[in-house]
Structure formats: C-alpha cells, structure tokens
C-alpha cells in the first residue's frame, strides 16, 4: 500500500511538474537581447478533443498502445472505437501523462477495491459470528423448553394422580391402580408429618382389602380366610369335590404353619401344585359345557390360587399372615401401617369389588383432606 502510495505520489509530482504545457514553459521567448534560440518557436497545438475515458484500465490486461481494431465493440466491452482510432490524438507527452493519469486512477480504484474487499471480509466475519451466536441462542432456547426426563416423569405422575382423583373407571379401582396412585401422593404427605382427617375403616371393608409387597405378582388376599374359599360357581361342581376339599385342608395347614413358624412344610407345598393342576385340567374338559362367564371365573380363580401358593415358598411368608395383614381403624392408620412395612395395594379378588369401590371413596376423602391442609397439586 505504501509503495503504491509512493509511486502514486511520484506520478502526481510528475504531473504537477508538468501541469502547464511543458513545452510551452520550456519554450519561452528568449529574453531581450538574448540570441534567439535555434529551436523553432513552439506553436501550441490546436485544441484537441477532451480526453474521455474510453474504458477503464484493467489490471489484468497488459496495456498496449498498438492501434486497436476500430469496429470490434466486443473487444472493448461494448464500446465502439470512434473512427480514426481508439485514442484521441495526443502528442507523446500528453499521451504519457494521460497514461499516467489512467494508471493513477486504476491504482486508486485498485486501492479502493482492496479496501472494499477488506470491508466485505469483515462483514463476512461479523455475519459468521452473528450466525454462531444465533445458533448458540437457539440451542439455549431449545434446552430451556425441552423437558428433562425427571420433569416428564413428574408430569406423568401428576397426570396419573389427576386421573385417579377424577372418577376413574371401576377397572382402575379394582386393579388397585387408582388406589396405589393415591397412596403414593398421600405417603409423601404423611412422611412429612401431614395427616388427613380421621376417616373410619369398617372391619369388613378392611378384611377385603388386599396388600402386597410388590415383589411378587401374587395376591395373598385369596388366602386371607386361611383356606376357607369362596369357590366360584363352576368349581362347586361335584367333579371338583375331592380336590376342593383337599386344597382347603392343605391350605389351612400351610397358613397355620406360615403364621406360627414363619415357614411351610415342603410336603404341603409339593401336594398343593398337582392338586390345583388337576382342577385346572378338569375345568378345561368342561369348557364346552360351561357358560363362558362361569368358565372364565373358575379359570381365573384357579390361576390366582396357584400364584398365591408360590408365596408359601417365600422366606418372608410368615409376614403375609402377620405384620403385613391390613390393619388400622382409620384410613390414616392403614396408610401408616403400609408405609411402615413397605406395602402397597393388591388387586381386588372376586367378591372384593364393592368393598374396593367404597374404600376408594374413603381414600379419596382422606386425600382431599390432606390437600386442604397443604397447597399441593
């Protein structure tokens, strides 16, 4: 840049030096008494046409003073050379200065272009920075509105709780889903020392509530009467009499041993399974002669009974007939008992449905009572 400026400066200086007609300046009439110079008196040239830019000096092209084709407009980017030549006539000095001027102009343009390019480059860099900033901001915004996994889980819990509080279907009550959802919400309050109103729990209702540890899919409720079963209609058929009576005896023995000794004799467990298998096979043979609903009820009962017998193999079997039995005179006491022993509600068994629906209403009242004490969702 400085070299260019230096060169340009020289050119400008040269131009200034010759700003007047140089030959005219050099050819002053001789001073008085001085001999006349040998040189002929300079005659200023006739007025010449004003120089016009016929084209810009292109840095990529090599300047040439060779005469250009006159009619080749394409050669000059659409400019047609005038008749008589591309360049107006000048004398060599004028031509030299014109060329110099053009060069200076071109240089100036070049410098300007360079500066402009630099500015554009800066603009590009600035835009890139702006884009990166925008990307970062967008990412931050998306992060801010994307729920975290824990938030999603919490929202789902909240939705389940709302559903359980808002007249859920009977199937949700009888499967204990709604009860356990309410229980989870109540538990968090009771653990914090907040209790609901004293809602009484009738004895017969309590007897029909089933609890479990959640570890096994079995329901101990089917054994709550210690082997006295409320057999479905189809299983009261004479075809099942022998096995029915045997199961009742074995179950009573198993329950007594579990409650007393905390374990069940293996011989009893070994006889329970084939007995119930035999009943299931007999029931299957009756499928064509049994009304569908009765058949399904009988099959379901035997399936649940078989699953509950597996609990007799559990090392904690004694607890099912001891400290894990539902107890409490109020809803709050039952909840506390469940909290203390890590229990949850198990599904209703046939015959429990009405009690479960009534209990749900009591549980909901208790939950509402807690909500009124604290501000919580």
């Amino acid at each position: 840049m400085s070299k260019t400026m230096g060169f340009g400066g020289l050119l400008l200086a040269a131009l200034a030096a010759f700003s007047a007609s140089p030959l005219q300046a050099q050819q002053q009439p001789p001073a008085q008494g001085q001999p006349q110079s040998a040189l002929p008196l300079y005659q200023p040239p006739q007025p010449q046409p004003q120089p016009k830019t016929q084209g810009t000096a292109q840095l990529t092209t090599s300047p040439s003073f060779a005469p250009f084709p006159q009619q080749n407009a394409g050669f000059y980017n659409g400019v047609v050379a005038p008749v008589g030549g591309y360049l107006p006539y000048r004398d060599p000095y004028g031509g030299y200065l014109t060329g110099t001027a053009n060069l200076v102009t071109a240089s100036g343009n070049f410098m300007q272009s360079v500066q402009q390019a630099s500015l554009m480059q800066e603009d590009v860099k600035r835009s890139q920075i702006d884009t990166r900033n925008a990307i970062i901001k967008q990412r931050m915004y998306e992060d801010s509105i994307t729920p975290k996994t824990e938030d999603v889980r919490a929202q789902q819990e909240l939705n389940r709780l709302r559903h359980s509080r808002s007249d859920p279907p009977q199937s949700d009550i009888w499967s204990a889903t709604a009860l356990n959802t309410l229980f989870t919400a109540i538990k968090s309050a009771q653990v914090a020392g907040i209790y609901g109103p004293p809602i009484p729990l009738p004895e017969d209702m309590l007897r029909h509530i089933n609890l479990s540890t959640g570890k096994r899919p079995a329901n101990i409720g089917v054994l709550r009467d210690g082997g006295r079963f409320d057999w479905p209609l189809i299983l009261q058929d004479d075809a099942f009499k022998t096995d029915r009576e045997r199961l009742e005896v074995l179950t009573q023995q198993a329950v007594n041993e579990a409650a007393t000794n905390g374990r069940v004799d293996t011989k009893i467990i070994r006889e329970l399974t084939p007995t119930i298998d035999r009943m299931q096979q007999n029931l299957l043979r009756m499928v064509q002669e049994a009304p569908p609903n009765e058949y399904m009820e009988g099959k379901k009962f035997l399936r649940e009974l078989a699953a509950s017998y597996k609990l007799f193999q559990d090392p904690d079997v004694g607890n099912y007939f001891g400290k894990w039995v539902p107890r409490g005179r109020t809803v709050g006491e039952l909840i506390q008992h469940m909290i203390d022993n890590g229990l949850q509600f198990a599904p209703a068994l046939p015959g429990d449905e009405t009690f479960y629906t009534a209990f749900y209403n009591n549980l909901l009242k208790y939950d509402t009572g807690i909500s009124q004490l604290v501000s919580r969702p």
Binding site: S171, L284, V287, Q288, E289, A290, P291, P292, N293, Y295, M296, K299, K300, R303
Partner: protein
C-alpha cells in the same frame, strides 16, 4: 368421542349388504317362519287408516303383529295405525289429511353415524298431532307439507316420546335411532334394567324451523344450518340437552344416494322390488337370494332374514353354515338384531333352544359370543384361553364365533395360523397348538396395531 364427531362417521360394516337390507325391509307377505304370530291384546287400540303410500308399489310393507305375515302396500295404498311398517330406501307415506310426509330412508352410501339397516315405524292415532309414530329402528325424515301453518308431530323411540312442531311449511327433520349391545355386556336370561342395549338417537333439522319438546318437557327452538340444528340422545346419559350448532348439513342426511356403490345398491333394490312384485312371495325372494351364486345376493338374503325377523332361518345359518362369508354376515346381522331393543336376546335364545334344539349352555355361549369383549376382559388371560379352547368346540357356530373374535383381537395370529372352523378335528388341533404357542396360557397378547402403522 364427542357427539358431533359421530356425524358423518362411516360404518365399518360391509357395504354390499346394506342395499339388500333395504330390500329386506320391504318384503312381501312373509309367512312367520318359525315364530308364531303374536296375538294382539284385546285392549289394544283398533287400527285405523291414517296415512297412505305415495311411492311405487312394493316399497312399503306392513305387518299387523310380530310374526304375522307381511303385506305388500301398493301405491296410494292405505296404512293403518298400530301396524309395523317397513320401507325400501325412499319409501314415503303421507298422512290422510296431507299435512305431514314421512320417508323411510336407508344408508346406501354408508356414511351415517351408525350402521343403520332398514327403517321401521308404527303409526298411532293422536287427535292433537298431525302425525304420531314410533321409530323402531333406522333412519326417517318427516316434513310439513301444509300450504300454511305449522304441523305437530309426536315421535317415539324406546321409552321416549318427543314432540316436534314444524313451524312453517317445508320444515323438515331427519331422525335416526340405533341400538346395540355394549362391549362386555353379559347375556342374562332374566331381564335386568342395567343389562340393556345402548340406544342412540340423532336428530337434524334439515329445513325450516322447529320447536322441539323433549320427553322431559324441555323445549328448544332449532332451525336448519347454519344454526342450532343437531340434537342427540342416548339411554345411558341422556345426551346433551341443548341443540348443537351445525354450519352445514352433514353428508349423511342427504336422502339421495350420491356415491357409486350406493347407486349400485339402489339398482339392486329396484330389481329386488320388481322381483318381489313378480313372485308375490317374500319367502321365495329370500330363498332365491340365499341360493344365488352371487355372494353379495346371498349376504343380502341373510340381512333380509334379520330385517324380517326370520329368526328360525337366521339361527340355522349361525348354527350350521359352513360358508365363512355367509356365516360372517349372519353374525353381523344377529348382532344388529339383538341390539335393537331390550329382550331381543332372549327371543333368539328361545329360537336356539326350542327350534334349533340346541343345548341351553350352547345357546348361552353363542349369545355371549355375539357380544364384544370389554377392556377388562381383554386384559384377562382367561378370555384368550377360552377362545382358543372354543376353536375345537363340537358346535360349528361356537368354533366360528371364537375364531371371529380371535381374528379381530389377534390379527397377526389370524394371518399366520391357518384355521377354519369347518376343518376336521385333527387339522383344528394343529392350528390350536399354534395358537397356544402364540398366546401361552396365563398371558395376554399385545394389542393389535392400528392399520397403517
């Protein structure tokens, strides 16, 4: 599902059948094929002529009492009160005083909110009303055809009696009633007020202005769209008691058949009408349809059996037919029939046990399997155990019904496991073993994926 979203809902049933349903409705002196004609109570009102047919011969048919023969009504023929009137799609009657016109409509385009089949009404004598009728089933429209003034109409359905004042000449209402047994409903031999079919009524003001009075005395002013033009009711919740706004008339209220398949059915119905006139025998026409080589005509014949309450023949098809397509149609027809009103199931049960001589437990099983399973039953492993066990039942009808359910509940299994209720026992055993492998005892299959996913 909102009530309005039901407007324009398409039926899932095969379309081909419905046209013939309309034909079914129309049929000629039907000898009571099975059920003896019920005697009319002594204190029942005497029938009086109260209207006439204004459409072609053999578009309307009447029956004095359930089980009595159907009579063909000719054009301008008289129509009496307290008689069941069945109509071809578009069959129309006018009151004798030419005040109200009532059209019995079908659903040939299959775009009604409910899969209605034939329309059936019973007229009543009421001096305070221009027309008093009971809509037993299907879709009808009624309009004020007076030169001036309003027309009063009383319309009844199930245990309801509503009143509509068609405030100006040209005012018109379209009415649709449909009943069906809900999923999970248990078949019970004893009447139970909680164990009744679900019944729906939809009402649209098609033209003009109407003052509607509900059964409970509530009154609403309604008019054709745009505006409060739609009302619905059901026997579970009563529906929404105030009219709902419609911007335009829903497509299903159009009385003209516009779609190609509907027009094709219309042509078939016209051909059937002519056949009925030619043979002058409804039974002969139905028999001909059942024996036709054309599957569509056969299926139409099945639908006709339901429409004309020919339970003997219908139950015979259910119990014995070995044609899966015909048998499937019989199942659909029977499901429609038992859902019509409370007490229908017991009638079918009696036909199974008394006419077909089926064991009571088998009749009970068939009737229970004519119901769909509810959500709780579908989560119960015993449901699938039982259905798979039934695949080898001694009775073809029960095998078929069990497979019918399994096909719908476990479509993937139905695609991969070849089973036919008609196959010999050893072939069935093989398929049953595959089903048991697919759905092991004590497990529940995955819910079927929605189509297209």
């Amino acid at each position: 599902m909102s009530e309005l979203s039901r407007i324009g809902r398409r039926s899932t049933y095969s379309r081909g059948v419905y046209c013939l349903l309309g034909a079914a409705a129309l049929l000629i002196p039907l000898t009571s094929t099975g059920a003896a004609a019920e005697s009319v109570p002594a204190d029942a009102p005497k029938p009086v002529v109260i209207a006439k047919s204004v459409t072609d011969d053999a578009t309307l048919f009447t029956r004095a009492a359930p089980g009595a023969p159907w009579q063909t009504v000719m054009k301008n023929g008289s129509l009496r009160t307290e008689e069941t009137i069945l109509g071809l799609p578009g069959a129309t009657l006018e009151t004798s005083k030419q005040t109200v016109r009532l059209s019995l409509l079908g659903d040939l385009d299959r775009n009604s909110p409910f899969p209605v089949y034939e329309a059936a009404v019973v007229l009543h004598e009421s001096p305070d009303f221009d027309l008093d009728f009971t809509l037993e089933r299907g879709r009808v429209s009624f309009a004020n055809i007076k030169d001036k003034g309003s027309a009063n109409v009383k319309f009844r359905f199930l245990d309801q009696a509503w009143e509509a004042t068609l405030l100006e000449p040209g005012s018109k209402i379209e009415l649709l009633v449909y009943g069906r047994c809900a999923s999970g409903m248990a078949f019970k031999k004893k009447a139970d007020h909680q164990n009744v079919p679900h019944f729906d009524m939809d009402l649209v003001v098609v033209a003009g202005k109407v003052l509607l009075k509900h059964h409970n005395g509530l009154e609403n002013r309604m008019h054709a769209p745009p505006g409060p033009a739609f009302m619905d009711w059901n026997n579970l919740t009563g529906g929404i008691p105030s009219p709902q706004k419609l911007e335009t008339l829903p497509a299903w209220v159009a009385e003209d058949t516009t779609l190609e398949h509907g027009k094709a059915k219309l042509a078939q119905i016209e051909a059937f009408r002519k056949a009925v006139l030619a043979t002058k025998s409804l039974d002969a026409a139905i028999e001909a349809a059942l024996k036709s080589d054309d599957k569509l005509r056969q299926r139409g014949g099945i639908v006709l059996l339901g429409a004309t309450d020919n339970l003997d023949k219908l139950s015979e098809v259910l119990a014995k037919s070995d044609d899966p397509e015909i048998w499937n149609q019989a199942v659909i027809t029977a499901r429609h029939w038992i859902g019509r009103a409370p007490g229908q199931e017991m009638k079918l049960y009696q036909v199974f046990t008394e006419k077909v001589k089926m064991k009571p437990v088998h009749a009970e099983t068939i009737l229970q399997l004519l119901h769909s399973f509810d959500e709780a039953a579908l989560k119960n492993p015993e449901t699938y155990d039982m259905l798979i066990s039934y695949l080898n039942h001694e009775r073809l009808g029960i095998r078929g019904l069990a497979y019918w359910h399994l096909r719908r509940l476990v479509p993937e299994g139905a695609k991969t496991i070849k089973y036919s209720p008609n196959e010999p026992p050893d072939a069935r055993e093989k398929a049953i073993a595959e089903w048991k492998k697919l759905i092991p005892s004590g497990t529940v299959p995955d819910a079927p994926k929605p189509e297209g996913n």
